[in-house]
Amino acid sequence: MSEKLSFDGKVNYVVKSKPGLDKKLIEEISFNKDEPVWMRELRLKSLDFFLKRSNPVFGVDISKLDVNEIIPYLKPDAEKSGSWEEVPENIKETFEKLGIPDAERKVLAGVGAQYDSEVVYQHIKDQLSRLGVIFLDMESAVKEYPELVKKYFMRAVPPNDHKFAALHGAIWSGGSFVYVPKDVEVPMPLQAYFMMASPGMGQFEHTLIIVDKGAKLHFIEGCSAPKYSVINLHSGMVEIYVDEGASMKYSTVQNWSKNTYNLNTKRALVEKDATMVWVSGSIGSAKTMLYPTSVLKGKGARAEHMNITYAGNDQHMDTGSKIIHVAPYTSSKVDARSISSDGGWAFYRGLLKVLPTAHHVKSTVECSALMVDDASASDTVPIIEVMNNEADIGHEARIGKIKESQIYYLMSRGISEGDAKALIVRGFMEPIVKQLPLEYAIEFNRLVNMKFTSDLG
């Protein structure tokens, strides 16, 4: 999708921070955003952690990433708006190319759109706001719902969780805040779209979602960026609180350009009898580290993680999932698939942890990797730690290539070799890709067709 975007550089910025990170910059950002003291202190504490902590010792090679060269904050010259008419033409055009306003009219309950560091558009259907559903950009939420935000902001992922969580805490900007009141079922998905438009910038949006008791929500997140020759950094954070009996589905399609380092943190705390579903599709970026996490805190809580990762030329995708069973009678299911192609490297890293307190746990973990040529690589490291004797755990891992006998079978029915390979790879992705919004499913298929010069519809 990002290939289709072109930028003429006509967007003006009212604030463009210099590269680099220090206390002064953090205070400036906080001042510009007119933040309460507690938030400024959270930022400064985070900066402290960031400066003290060392880089992660696993995952992708980030030695070329110099955070001091990243532009951490860019405010486009556009006030946040509730109607597309008011969004400056050149920014609106970008989102129109991505089909966002059209999708909003047809299939979504609300949309938030972020351009570089700030949200430029936010709208939710009236009937939902009348039911008490809140859908705001994060900055407005800090001001309008201080109690609620303070109670939950960076509680699921504390600033000292890891180095990039700390970085995020220091310079977060933009993102969405969602609150769904008790027993309200949001009938259509809400969507947030993140666009990183400027070379060398970092995007650090914060998404905070609270689904109250018995409520239901589907949230979709999409990301893209045009390609530049310098490194862009995305280090967003998603925190989700799923209260008793509630149900939450979070779908992501990550299609950052290939100069982006995507070091992202996503975590959900799941209470009694609640359900959390993560659907993640990763296509873009140079390097990704992403492990959506579910902490099953309440008895009977459930989590389902579905990942599909495509690692193409020059991409190293370190993706996976983490599930912590804290309470008894909790259950989880992981279906993680990856495709590596043209020298790409797909690494599955998973952790399933069953604490001593979590008896009668049920879990199945399945990870499969498909390498479509000899230049590509795949690894799977699924770690399972079970600390009690009453758990029912199933695990399966497969790494393989397309079988010659499968290609032959399809060709014996008249299908060309390229189409046969494309069909097999698309079939491999199908169970996960069909969970994604249609336009993203099409994007996955387009990549596979390109690889095998196939023109399957």
Partner: protein, 244 residues
Amino acid sequence: MLLEIRNLHVEVEGKEVLKGLNLNINPGETHAIMGPNGAGKTTLASTIMGNPKYMITDGDILFEGKSILEMTVDERAKFGIFQSFQYPEEIPGVKLRNFLKLAYDTVHPDKKLSVFDFGDLIVKQADKLKIDRSFLDRYINVGFSGGERKKSEILQLNVLNPKLAVLDETDSGLDIDALKIVSDGIKNFANPKVSVLIITHYQRILDHVKPDFVHVFMNGKIVKTGGMEIASELESNGYESLTV
């Protein structure tokens, strides 16, 4: 002549399996090749279809008078050759219906059907073969029993409607009812314009399909040709009695 195999020598992994095989099939004829296990029956079927695993060291295969040795597998399929497999592959994530539509449009580019007309066509064929319609929307062969896979092969045969059907051990693993249904499916396909080559170890499918010619295949060659009486003879005396 539809298919003409001349002095065919084939090697698999450096070992000669076919050692000078000759076979002629005319349009409208049904031939059966019977042979013991390990005689190279699957090698013959896969060589006709063009599986690159099998290396032709001598001889030729002509289809409608033209050598097909240089043609790829999919080109041969478009030319009108069909192989039914003893162990059909599973293709997870690809629905039988979508796959068959794609295959049909590829082998019959001049007779493309709308999704609805194609739906009618496959449902009709599935009903004839007593295949539950829900199978059409399942992934190719995934979770199919042995018998269901064989029925799916015969469904594909009837939908794609080639000129030559090469059926490799289509009867293996079938119970009596399924054998009857599959045999009816083969007879349903057979007509004066198309030809069938049944490759089998046992006589029982031949009792249903009644081929015009039966060939005995041993040690990489056809050692005897005749009618159904040969099949009965083999059934009572075994292949050993025929050692030449």
